[in-house]
């Protein structure tokens, strides 16, 4: 079983990201379970969402405490939230950032960096003050991990995007090409 935790801010689409990635993995024959941190969401406040993916039926219904993968949709969260809390030893962290790897203090076996904010803006997703980066960060998953293909991610985005499906799909493809992976 692969367990994933998304950190975002209310309005960035972390919960939708978990649902779209669930759909992509489901398309590849996996059982999936996606859910938000069971809270009350407010725009701008830290939001957590979860995803489980397995070849076998998933039964466990608790939140995720020891993720294999953490995705951070907002660089400012690195200072506000302990994003690597409980991360498995051989875990992966995917971060939306324009920083250089040497300026990232997060410790993980594998780090994947993508400037999802710039990509979202390039594709007209959200506003400068509130870019919608979730589909861009999803494009990084097939680059940083083996869990899903970019084709399935794009297909899921096209089906599940509430608006601008094509732009979201192209943003994911862009992110897939421009994710920097460090091990």
């Amino acid at each position: 079983m692969i367990e994933i935790r998304f950190h975002g801010r209310g309005g960035q689409g972390a919960v939708t990201a978990a649902n779209i990635l669930a759909e992509a993995c489901f398309k590849e024959g996996k059982d999936v379970q996606a859910f938000p941190m069971f809270g009350v969401e407010r725009r701008g406040a830290p939001v957590t969402a979860f995803l489980r993916v397995d070849d076998r039926p998933i039964r466990i219904k608790s939140q995720i405490y020891n993720p294999d993968i953490v995705a951070v949709l907002d660089t400012t969260l690195l200072e506000a939230v302990d994003v690597t809390s409980g991360l498995k030893k051989d875990g992966t962290v995917i971060i939306n950032t324009d920083l250089d790897i040497k300026d990232i203090e997060i410790k993980a076996k594998k780090l994947a960096l993508v400037d999802a904010t710039k990509i979202a803006m390039d594709h007209g997703l959200g506003s400068k003050a509130a870019p919608i980066v979730n589909t861009s960060i999803l494009g990084s998953f097939p680059r940083a991990t083996e869990m899903v293909s970019i084709e399935s991610v794009i297909k899921a985005i096209k089906e599940k995007s509430p608006a601008k499906a094509e732009e979201n799909a192209r943003a994911a493809e862009d992110a897939y090409k421009n994710t920097r992976v460090f091990e």
Partner: protein
């Protein structure tokens, strides 16, 4: 067959749509709102040919369902927590007047203090209103139970309303894979509702009149008998559903109890997490299994007795509390066993009130404490209480 990744709430909506409900009367409340939102979209698009009635309160929602059912329609609503509490009077009405209304209740803790998270106190408090209660543990079961509930409740031998129940957020807002059979196959399983007695201008009848003491008592006897008869109907319908669609249901779900010494008695999503715990404990050599109580009303006493007769210990894990007494599944389990010649000790644990997360480790540690005789008997074991 369509497989989709959907919220538990939407599993209810799809289940109601595929049951071809005719009247929906509803009032929004977190975390239920998505259920009726999607149903209103189905009605607006014409995908579902039902009358959608917006009402000013949950009390009115149930009153409208009662009226619709009295007129012979298949009626549906959904609510949660305070909304369910506000319906209380009408819940008695629906059952006493023998209207087979189906309702989804999203288990949400009662305020104050305000909580939107799960526990069972809202639905447990409606235990004695004469509704069948089904506690679901996966989104698939939510969808399947919505359809089965109509078939069970509308059965001539039952004619009582039914409540399907799912945990706030842990199911309501969680996306899981749900397999939905083709509409034609569901139509074969669940034909249209034909009310035997209904409001009809050509055949006028009085409903809800005054009943003197010489016969009221007999009607209560009959209402209770119908609940008892529902035990078999629930199993028959669950079996037929299984034969048609490959997923079998009954009053309880047994898991690895064949050679078990310790059996956990659980319900709702806690049961799914507990299965994981049972597997891990089995690997450590513990002979443990679980029984998930799916149908709480009518209560499956015989099933509990049969399982209890073969085990050394039962541990009932409740996500509810009857203040001044104990967990309600605990009380009911013990009561079912009291007159048995031999019965195992039964321990009661309270867990996860107000949505406190229930983890695999919690269940494993409860079982280990039980095995080492460290749980208290005849007292509530408050799991993880910080005071």
């Amino acid at each position: 067959m369509v497989k989709k990744v959907i919220y538990g709430n939407h599993a209810v909506s799809y289940g109601a749509r595929d049951s071809r409900v005719e009247v929906i009367a509803a009032y929004p409340i977190t975390p239920q709102t998505q259920v009726v939102e999607l149903l209103s979209e189905f009605c607006a698009s014409g995908e579902l040919k039902a009358k959608f009635i917006k009402v000013e309160s949950e009390h009115s929602a149930m009153a409208a369902c009662v009226g619709a059912s009295a007129a012979g329609a298949r009626a549906f609503t959904a609510t949660s927590s305070q909304g369910l509490a506000l319906m209380h009077e009408m819940l008695h009405w629906a059952s006493n007047a023998r209207h087979p209304i189906v309702m989804a209740n999203i288990n949400r803790a009662m305020g104050p203090p305000w909580s939107i998270w799960t526990d069972q106190n809202d639905s447990i408090a409606q235990r004695d209103t004469g509704w069948l209660q089904f506690y679901c543990s996966t989104n698939q079961e939510v969808y399947d139970t919505t359809i089965q509930a109509f078939k069970i409740c509308e059965n001539d031998k039952v004619l009582l309303p039914g409540m399907l129940i799912l945990d706030a957020f842990v199911l309501s807002h969680t996306s899981e894979v749900v397999d939905m059979p083709p509409q034609e196959e569901i139509d074969e399983f669940l034909p249209p509702y034909e009310a035997k007695y209904k409001l009809d201008l050509d055949d006028p009848r009085a409903f809800g009149g005054l009943m003197f003491p010489d016969w009221y008592y007999e009607l209560k006897y009959k209402q209770h008998r119908s609940m008892e008869k529902a035990l078999k109907i629930i199993e028959d319908v669950g079996r037929e559903f299984g034969e048609r669609f490959g997923r079998y249901y009954g009053l309880v779900e047994e898991y690895r109890i064949d050679d078990a010494e310790i059996v956990l008695v659980v319900s709702s999503t806690v049961a799914q997490t507990s299965k994981e715990a049972v597997d891990l404990l089995r690997k450590e050599g513990m002979r443990i299994g679980l029984v998930r109580i799916r149908t709480f009303r009518p209560f499956p006493k015989e099933k509990i007795r049969k399982i209890a007769s073969k085990v050394d210990m039962m541990i009932v894990i409740d996500r509810n509390i009857s203040f001044g007494s104990e967990g309600v599944f605990y009380t009911e389990t013990k009561a079912a066993l009291y007159n048995e010649k031999s019965r195992p000790p039964v321990y009661g644990v309270i867990i996860g009130l107000g949505g406190r997360d229930v983890r695999v480790e919690d269940i494993m540690n409860i079982a280990k404490k039980g095995k080492n005789n460290k749980l208290e008997i005849n007292k509530i074991n408050w799991w993880g209480v910080k005071l």
